[in-house]
Symmetry: C2
Subunit: 449 residues, 2 copies
C-alpha cells in the first residue's frame, strides 16, 4: 500500500501513519488477518525513524486495530464497516481555540500543579467579575467553563459537543446520582466486575437495579449485557480500573451496536484518559456515536486535584432536553468562582500544559515504581501504557514490597478487592496505584535498596 | 412576680426579660391563660424603657409563649412541662469563640458582601495552606469549617453540636439527596403545603414516598402527620416559606412529641433564620431535642451568595454513625479552598458582622418594599418580622404594582403557586420576595410614584 506523509503538516508523522493504517482497517482495505509490513520495512519505505513507526503501531495495537503475534509480526485485527470520525465539526470553533496571548512567565515549581498561575487567575477573576461573582451561574454550569471544556474536548479528545450539552457538577459521584435521576432507577445498570467499588454502592443507595458484568481481555462483555437484560452499560473504555484494559475498537463497536439496538445507553467514564503515557489518547465511544446512545463523563479531580470538585458530563440533545425538563431546577453544585477560575485555566492553555507536565512526571514515577517492584524478583507486570495504575503478579510473600511501595505513596492492593459476588480472581494479582506516589521517596528507596 | 435584671450583664435587658417570662411559662409559674402585666406597667416596675419591654414581648409572641389579645392585653399562651434549654454546653468552647484579633480595617463598600475581606482571606489561605490545598478534605467536610460552623451555631442559634456531627455539602438540594439515601426511600416524607416546590420534585426524582401536609396558623399540622403515616417531617419552623409563619413553641413541642413517639425524624430546615429583622433568632427544635430525632440543615447560599454552594447538616450521633457507615465513602462535594476560606470568614467574626449588616439592609429594603406596596392602596400585608419574604393581599387588578416591584428586583408571585394538589388558597394572596431587591431602584421608585 503506497503511503505518503506530509512532512510540513502540524500533525506528527506517527499520527499520520496511525491514521492511514486505522482508516485502511476500518474501510476493509486492510482486511482482518492481513499481515502488515514489519516496523523496520515500513520505516525504510516511509523514510522515517523506527521509533515513529513503533509509536504508530503501539497506538494501533492499544486501540485494537492491529495485533502483534510473537515472532511473527503485525496483523490487522478488526473488520468494521463504519468509519470512525469525530462528530460534526463546529462551523465556528469555540473561542478557546484561539491562540493563547499570555504564556506563563514563571517556570513550574517543584509541585506539578501551577499554583502561582492558578492564584493569578483567581485574582484576575475577582477583579474582572466583581459582584457578578455573587450571582448564581446557569444550572448546567458557568457558560464560559462549558465553552472551555467543549474546546478542550475538541482538541484533546477529538470530538465536538456544544457547551449547552455539557453539565457541570461537583464530582463524578454527584453526577452519577443525577444520571440515575435522569435515566430512572427502574432501568438495569451494568457495571464492570471488577470495577470501582463506589459505583455499586451508589447504585445500591439509589435503589437502582444493577448487574455486575464480567470482563474478558477486551473489557466488559457485550454478550453478558444482552443476557442480563441491561439497559445502561457503565464502562471506562479508555483505561479500565483496576485491570488497566484499554477497550479495543472491536469491543467498542460491539457495545455501541448493543446500545443502538434498543432503548439503551452507555455511560462512558473517561476518567484517567488524559494520562496515557505515550502516543495520543484513545478515541472516545462518544465521539463515534451517531445515534446519541452515549453519555460522556469526566472529572478534574485526577487532572488538577481531588480537592477541586469539578466534573462534567456531555449529553445528547435528547438527554439534554430531558435534563432541562426534569432536573434543570437543580442549582449547579459547583461554586461560581471555582468555575470561572477553571475556565480561564483551560482556555488560556494552562490545563493542557499542566497535563503534559503531569504526564511526564507520571511516566517517570511509573518507571520508578516498576523498577522498585521488579527489583524484588519474581514479579510480572501487566501494563497497558495508560493511566495511573497497573497490575502486577506478586509472589506469595510480598509484604516487604507492599510496605516499600507504601513508603513511597504507592498503594498496592489485592485485585480481588475489586471483584463482587465472589467472582473468580487469582490471589497473586495486585493493583498498583501510583497516583499519589512521591517521586523523592521513590528515588530515596533506590538508595536504600 | 418579682423580677430583677442584671444591668451589668452582657445580655441585653430585653433578652433577660424575655428569658424570665419564657421560663415562667415553661415551668408553669405562668400558667396558660394567665394575664401578664401591661408593657407600660412592667417597664415602670423594672425601670426600663417601654421599647425594651416591647422587644421582649414581641419575641415571646413570635415564639408562641405569649399571645396578644386586642385591647385586652397579653396572656401566657403555652402550658409545657420540659424546660427548653440548649444541649449540653461543651466543656471547652470551640476555638472560634475566642475574641477576634483582626477587625476589618476597611469599611464595607456599596456591596453587602465584604469582597475585600473575602479575597484577603483567600490569599491568606493560599499562602498558609500551600500544597495542602490540593489534598482532599475529610468526607464530612474540612474540619476547620465544621469547627467554625459549630462555634457559630453555638453563638447564634444557642445549641452545641460537635464538629464531627456536621456534614458539609454543596447546597441543600445536594444534602436532601444524601438524606434520602441516609434515611431510606421506603419512608414517608411529610412536606409542607404550601412550600418550596423544589422539595416535592427532589423527593419524586428520588422515588421517595412523600405526602403533602397542610398547615394551619401554627405551621405544619401534627395531627395530619399521624393521619398520613409520615415517618419524616420536613419543616422550616423558623420562618416558613412562603407563608412566613414562625412555628410557636406549642406546635414545636407537638411535632417533637410526634417524632419521639416512634421511629420518626424531623428535618429542620433553618434557611433564612438569620434574617429575623428584630429581636433574637427563634430557637431551633434541634437544640431542644434530647432524643435525637431532629436533623438540622442550613445553607450559606442566602447569607453569603447563591454562587457559594456550601450547606451543612447536623446529625445526631446515631445518624452520624449511619452516615459514616453507609454514605461516608462519598467525597465531600465542596472544593477544599472554598471551605477553608469560609472557615476563616466565620471564625474571624466576619460572617456574623456581615449578617448584621445584611439584616440592617434587609430591614430597610423590607420597609421600602412595604411602603411601595402600601402606596398602591387597597392592600393588607401579613408580616412575621422574619426572613426575606412576606405575604400580601392584593386587589384584583394589581399588575401595576407587580411590575413596579419587578423593576426593583422584588418578586411578587401568587401564593397559590406554592400549593400542591389543588389545596385551597385565596386568589388574592401574593408572596413578596425582596431577597434580590435593589435598594437604589426602590428609592428611585418613590421618586417616580
Amino acid at each position: 500500500m503506497a503511503r505518503t506523509l506530509e512532512r510540513s503538516s502540524e500533525k506528527p508523522l506517527y499520527e499520520q501513519i496511525y491514521e492511514q493504517i486505522r482508516d485502511d482497517v476500518l474501510s476493509g482495505r486492510l482486511p482482518e488477518g492481513k499481515k502488515l509490513p514489519s516496523k523496520r520495512a515500513l520505516a525504510e519505505q516511509l523514510q522515517v525513524s523506527l521509533i515513529t513507526v513503533e509509536n504508530a503501531y503501539s497506538q494501533l495495537i492499544a486501540e485494537g486495530y492491529v495485533r502483534a503475534a510473537q515472532r511473527s509480526g503485525y496483523y490487522a485485527a478488526y473488520s468494521g464497516e463504519a468509519v470512525e470520525k469525530p462528530k460534526a465539526k463546529p462551523l465556528r470553533l469555540p473561542d478557546s481555540e484561539k491562540k493563547e496571548e499570555q504564556p506563563p512567565s514563571r517556570p513550574a515549581g517543584a509541585d506539578i500543579f501551577p499554583f502561582s498561575v492558578w492564584t493569578r487567575l483567581m485574582r484576575s477573576v475577582i477583579s474582572e467579575k466583581g459582584t457578578r461573582l455573587l450571582q448564581p451561574v446557569d444550572n448546567g454550569g458557568a457558560y464560559e467553563l462549558r465553552e472551555a471544556i467543549s474546546g478542550y474536548l475538541y482538541r484533546a479528545r477529538g470530538f465536538y459537543t456544544p457547551p449547552e450539552n455539557i453539565i457541570v457538577g461537583s464530582g463524578t459521584e454527584y453526577l452519577y446520582n443525577l444520571l440515575i435521576q435522569l435515566l430512572g432507577r427502574d432501568k438495569v445498570y451494568g457495571i464492570e466486575n471488577p470495577g470501582f467499588p463506589k459505583l455499586a454502592k451508589i447504585y445500591a443507595l439509589n435503589n437502582a437495579r444493577f448487574e455486575y458484568i464480567p470482563l474478558d481481555n477486551s473489557g466488559m462483555r457485550a454478550d453478558e449485557l444482552e443476557k442480563r437484560r441491561v439497559d445502561i452499560a457503565h464502562i471506562s473504555p479508555a483505561h479500565h480500573f483496576p485491570t488497566g484494559i484499554v477497550m479495543p475498537i472491536s469491543r467498542r463497536r460491539e457495545i455501541l451496536g448493543w446500545a443502538e439496538s434498543g432503548d439503551r445507553y452507555i455511560i462512558e467514564d473517561d476518567y484517567d484518559s488524559e494520562f496515557r503515557r505515550s502516543g495520543k489518547p484513545v478515541p472516545t465511544i462518544f465521539g463515534s456515536d451517531d445515534l446519541e446512545r452515549v453519555i460522556y463523563i469526566n472529572t478534574f479531580s485526577q487532572t488538577i486535584a481531588p480537592s477541586v470538585r469539578i466534573s462534567y458530563m456531555c449529553l445528547s440533545d435528547e438527554l439534554c432536553g430531558l435534563w432541562r425538563k426534569n432536573l434543570g431546577f437543580y442549582a449547579c453544585s459547583v461554586p461560581a468562582f471555582e468555575q470561572y477560575t477553571l475556565a480561564r485555566f483551560i482556555s488560556e492553555g494552562y490545563f493542557e500544559r499542566h497535563i503534559n507536565r503531569a504526564k511526564k512526571r507520571f511516566k517517570r514515577v511509573c518507571e520508578l515504581t516498576e523498577q522498585l517492584i521488579l527489583s524484588c524478583g519474581n514479579v510480572k507486570i501487566s501494563e497497558e501504557n495508560a493511566g495511573l495504575h497497573f497490575t502486577v503478579r506478586l509472589p506469595e510473600n510480598s509484604a516487604e514490597i507492599i510496605a516499600k511501595c507504601a513508603e513511597c505513596g504507592i498503594k498496592v492492593t489485592p485485585l480481588s478487592d475489586y471483584y463482587a459476588e465472589g467472582a473468580a480472581c487469582e490471589d497473586s494479582l495486585f493493583l498498583v496505584n501510583y497516583a499519589g506516589a512521591v517521586e523523592e521517596n521513590l528515588l530515596k528507596a533506590f538508595g536504600k535498596l
